[in-house]
Amino acid sequence: MELKAEKITREFIRPGGKTNRFFAVKETDLTLASGKLTVLMGRSGSGKTTLLNMLSGLLMPSTGKITADGRDLYAMPDKELSKFRNVHMGVIPQGQTAIHSLNVTENILLPFGLYGDKPDEARAKELMERLDIAELASARPAELSGGELRRVAIARALVRRPEVIFADEPTGDLDDENTAAVFTFLKECAREGAAVLVVTHENEAVNYADEVLRMNAGTLEQG
């Protein structure tokens, strides 16, 4: 799939302050193509997450449009866009994002459950093994470490074999070994045909990237 952003911006209203309207993302063009791993770096607060949210269908741009294989994402009604995102996009958000009342396997299979689709248990098992959390299959999120929770979120984002993968600082709380494993893994996903966008602070990520971008105060630059 080709995900294309044309002249998108995002303006926010900052509560208080003098100039309270500001652009978190200034006019940006960007294309994510199948088989390509794009790394997005930049300082905290520079607008990386805002850009990622817009691209992944979670945040409507103030101006501009985003198309997936020609379909305007934000022209779809919420129901249609949601299902589209469920099937075609995998998002690994920032922070801890497990569902408290479900165990690890149930968390990972949840994207199927949302629409009553048949769960691909073999895929979940394969991902758990590759992410080294297989022995935690029936553990509760409360029993897991930050790094383990992060890997659960990765498995959950990838379980439907999405064509576009977004990862927002996916290695934030992982050790070096696991960080390398995650990048290898995302690289493999790209090689298998996915379009991958990774927001990260790890300089090491550059070694895996097909393209490196840099966000600087809302402006996207080739890195």
Partner: protein, 398 residues
């Protein structure tokens, strides 16, 4: 999605239990309160039917009125007599329509009953107040030493009961009336006269010099066409000595008054519980959703539509409220139906449960109403969840 709702509820057992108990409480008060009010109303109707006469005439002695009211309204036991001549004088007044005498006696304990039983003798030829009740369960004639037992007495058709040494046979059992009829035994005139004689012989009757063949306890009278009960009562009280006439409406008005007082209190109680319940439900759902804001945002990231998020909140609410409501209804029925006698005694008011169909109707309405209330309380949270700003919630620390 449904199983996610279930798992979310199981994942927070204490909060779910509180919601379930709250829904149960709502249904319980609605069902219990409504059923009590309905039963009181039905009891009053039954009492009016039980009195069944416009006017009642009793001996004039000071304590008689109280005694009579206690027997008829409170289910107390007692007896008193006046000479037949006095009764005859009343019957001859103009404006008297249907008229029938009744004869009272109280047993001093009997095999059927741990407490004394009120015995009322009627004249089957003229009676128009009790017979309609008896006919509902017994079509035959009441022979000598045949008795009809009230529904609360521990006596069954064919049983032999003995009063003052006279053995009687239970010919029929009345259906429940919710009034003092339920603890009364009915006989015909000849039988009760035999019982009165026997009580006199055994020296167990307070009226030592009463002549059983020439006495009655009270007269039940319907005013003739063209005469109002008031006119008749006044006429009798002015012209017939040593008797006192009452309008049955006046006797009931006191009961009707306290009954409407109790009903009003119950309605207030229901309203208070529901208002409180609604507020707590609103708070509980709001808290439950606020606490899990991030989880809802995560579901959204996974591709849940806004509608699905709202649906999840509503499903959780419906599951808890339905479970609680059904439980509350079950408890309500288990309290009210077996213990309606206790409630009747506690309230001291006539109390007659509605028929099965009405109970089922009230029950369904109470459950539906609680579930709808729960859904309404959750709707606010559901709407808020469907509006969440995923990006803002998941932005995390940086």
């Amino acid at each position: 999605m449904k199983s996610l709702a279930m798992k979310n509820l199981r994942g927070r057992p204490v909060r779910s239990a509180v919601l379930i108990v709250l829904a149960a409480l709502l249904t319980f008060t609605a069902l219990g309160g409504t059923l009590t009010v309905a039963s009181l109303g039905k009891g009053l109707d039954s009492l009016e039917a039980r009195l069944g006469a416009d006017v009642m005439v009793v001996p004039k002695e000071a304590t008689m009125k109280k005694k009579f009211e206690d027997i008829v309204l409170q289910g107390a036991t007692g007896y008193f007599y006046m000479d037949s001549k006095r009764a005859q004088a009343v019957m001859e007044r103009e404006g008297v329509g249907e008229v029938s005498p009744q004869f009272f006696l109280a047993s001093t304990g009997s095999s059927c009953c741990s407490i004394p039983v009120q015995i009322i003798g009627i004249d089957p030829a003229t009676d128009f107040t009790v017979s309609p009740w008896i006919k509902r369960t017994y079509g035959g004639e009441l022979g000598l030493y045949d008795i009809v037992a009230g529904s609360d007495l521990n006596a069954f058709v064919g049983d032999k009961l003995s009063f003052y040494g006279v053995e009687c046979r239970v010919a029929a059992k009345l259906e429940k009336t919710g009034t003092s009829y339920d603890t009364t035994v009915f006989t015909n005139e000849d039988t009760i006269k035999a019982l009165i004689s026997s009580s006199l012989e055994k020296g167990m009757n307070d009226f030592e010099d009463v002549d059983p063949e020439n006495c009655v306890s009270c007269l039940m009278i319907n005013a003739a066409d063209g005469t109002s009960p008031e006119e008749l009562v006044n006429d009798i009280n002015i012209h017939v000595k040593k008797v006192k006439a009452y309008k049955s409406g006046d006797m009931i008005s006191g009961i009707a008054g306290s009954l409407s007082g109790v009903s009003r209190m119950i309605k207030l109680l229901i309203a208070a519980v529901w208002v409180l319940g609604l507020v707590i439900l609103l708070l509980a759902f709001t808290m439950s959703v606020n606490e899990r804001k991030k989880e809802f945002a995560v579901l959204r990231v996974m591709g849940a539509s806004r509608g699905k998020l709202a649906g999840l909140v509503l499903k959780e609410a419906l599951l808890t409220c339905l479970t609680g409501s059904l439980g509350g209804a079950a408890v309500g029925l288990l309290v009210l139906i077996p213990f309606n006698g206790v409630i009747e005694q506690t309230l001291g008011l006539p109390f007659l449960l509605p028929n099965f169909g009405s109970i089922a109707g009230i029950c369904t309405a109470a459950v539906v109403l609680s579930v709808l209330t729960g859904a309404a309380a959750a709707a606010v949270s559901a709407w808020r969840v469907s509006r969440i700003d995923t990006g803002l919630i998941l932005r995390g620390e940086n």
